[in-house]
Amino acid sequence: MLKVASFKNYVNFANAKTIGRLFSSNNALNKVDGGKFTDFGSKMVPLAEKQKLVGGVFSSVASKYDIMNDVMSLGIHRCWKDHFINKLDAGKRPNSDTPLSFIDVAGGSGDIAFGLLDHAEEKFHDTQSTMDIIDINPDMLKEGEKRALEQNKYYNNPRVRFMIQNGEVLDAIESNSKDIYTVSFGIRNFTDIQAGLNTAHRVLKPGGIFYCLEFSKIENGLVDFGYQQWAKVLPFMGSVIANDYDSYQYLVESIERFPDQETFKYMIEKAGFQSVGYENLTFGTCAIHWGIKV
């Protein structure tokens, strides 16, 4: 009847955390003790466990993911995603012969993926570009396929593929095969963010664009104060309304742990991208980072 998130079975490695603080020079590169432990929200868990635990979070929220996003961002996430799609402005131009190949990682629910294809179709009359929707969690992919079925578009369509893949490896995707790589509110859940960026670099064609929308450091003190109060109340609200305290607690803590704009920009440059930049949305609540593979 009630799906209890599986990560309630984790053990708190308190000592690993203190060691971790000494060795990790960069908040993003949280591997310690030779890559044995990593952060999961604010707990330190064995590397191999984190994927399973994150999977557990998303299994329990998959069916209510959109509602959860609406609650967490008070509906503003739709504006952010619209701006994300419009700013990228991707699509096969009318004077071109070659369709684009998109890949949307950690986008199981499909909102960005379908939004990108819809934008290409409306603005450039592009009905040929292909889309690979990747997610490590099959429940989220199921939600995406269900949505495709309900809107009767992109379901059983050769243009759109739904695949269960690990974003850090993407072993079923060839190198140098994608024009646009998008990841929206998913990269903070990667066990190893740098590996995810390196894989993005591998998978993109030369000239391909890496485009990422993720929560980031709030620049304005007042908005930051407001957000902190909201973040303190959110898990309780999730518990009362959605009967899920732990998932919201994890999400709020994972947002806190994600590196800030400049650090993430440095990580993208380290992966080999050029012309890396970012744009703050809503005073830095989230940021769009981009980079081009040369």
Partner: protein, 331 residues
């Protein structure tokens, strides 16, 4: 007030009698003091303090990590106490009131959603009620044993295969048959989340898990009338507020036939049985699976109610006959 003070206070301020002037001075003062706190100089000074202004110094990373850890700590210390058991979400007093209000409203409009009822049940299970129940358990030998051994009712603990092979007059066999007839399994009980004391939480969990035993012992179906009857039995026997709430308010939503049946037959039976029989929380159901059901009922002091499904079937048949008779007449 400010006007009068500035006007009357000093002889030198004789010129400040213009209200607009005073407002201007007030605003200017507020802005100046505000700029000391939030202005550009203050912001730059904070950034310098954090090491963000010039080339990032050696301490920058450590300080940043400290800040992030401080923020994480505030995020984690929102609960008034540490969790007492797995799945425990401690709530402050205000949060408990919010939970009660929200779940109460939601249960009123959507009683069919199990989560609402579960949350309302936990928010109304006040400490003195559960303490009372604990004392009932402690004053009985079997109750003490239950509290010590903390049995958990799940399908692996109650082997369904074994139950089906028991003799037909045993409680275990009847329980198995009832589960089959109603199409439910004993695993569907929600975990306890909001009750703070771990012993109280276990007692509440035990109460929830024994619900099906009460159903099968009295052969009451899982339709709403059967549920109301069992809730009334629990309310009378154990004193759980949610059970009483449910038994009082739920019949108001029923059809009048069902309501009359409840008020005439089942609720009186439930209240009478509940008040007169042994406290059911002290019954170690798992050990009594092989006991003869009639003997068990006698020991507990329970007499069976009329079979609800039978009564409903008979009434449905009569109505059908009536319908057929008059349909034929019309043709």
């Amino acid at each position: 007030m400010l006007l009068r003070l500035t006007f009357l206070s000093s002889k030198l301020d004789r010129c400040l009698h213009n209200r607009a002037q005073q407002r201007h001075i007030f605003i200017a003062t507020a802005l100046t003091i505000g700029s000391f706190l939030f202005g550009k100089d203050a912001r730059l000074a904070d950034m310098m303090d954090r090491g963000e202004l010039h080339d990032k110094n050696v301490e920058y990373e450590l300080k940043r990590q400290e800040r992030i850890d401080a923020r994480l700590k505030t995020l984690q210390s929102t609960r008034p106490m540490k969790p007492m058991y797995k799945g425990h979400v401690p709530l402050t007093a205000i949060e408990k009131m919010i939970l009660f209000t929200v779940s109460g409203v939601r249960s009123f409009f959507h009683p069919e959603n199990g989560i609402n009822i579960v949350q309302l049940g936990e928010s109304t299970a006040l400490p003195f009620v559960l303490e009372n129940l604990k004392q009932t358990m402690l004053s009985d030998e079997t109750g003490r044993r239950i509290l010590r051994e903390k049995p958990n009712v799940t399908t692996d603990q109650l082997d369904m295969g074994k139950l089906s092979k028991l003799p037909k007059n045993t409680f275990g066999y009847r329980f198995f048959k009832w589960l089959e007839k109603e199409g439910v399994s004993p695993d569907t009980r929600a975990p306890v989340t909001y009750i703070d004391d771990p012993v109280h939480a276990y007692i509440f969990k035990r109460y929830r898990q024994c619900h099906d035993f009460y159903h099968s012992l009295n052969d009451l179906p899982i339709i709403i009338e059967g549920e109301i009857t069992v809730k009334a039995l629990e309310a009378a026997n154990l004193g759980i507020p949610m059970a009483a709430l449910g038994a009082l308010l739920a019949p108001l939503r029923l059809k009048s036939v069902q309501r009359d049946r409840l008020y005439d037959i089942y609720l009186p039976w439930a209240v009478k049985t509940g008040l007169s029989c042994k406290p059911l929380i002290n019954v170690y159901w798992e050990e009594l699976l092989e006991k003869d059901i009639d003997k068990l009922k006698k020991e507990l002091g329970i007499t069976a109610p009329p079979d609800l499904r039978e009564i409903r079937k008979e009434r449905a048949q009569k109505r059908k006959q009536l319908k057929l008779r008059y349909e034929n007449f019309d043709q």
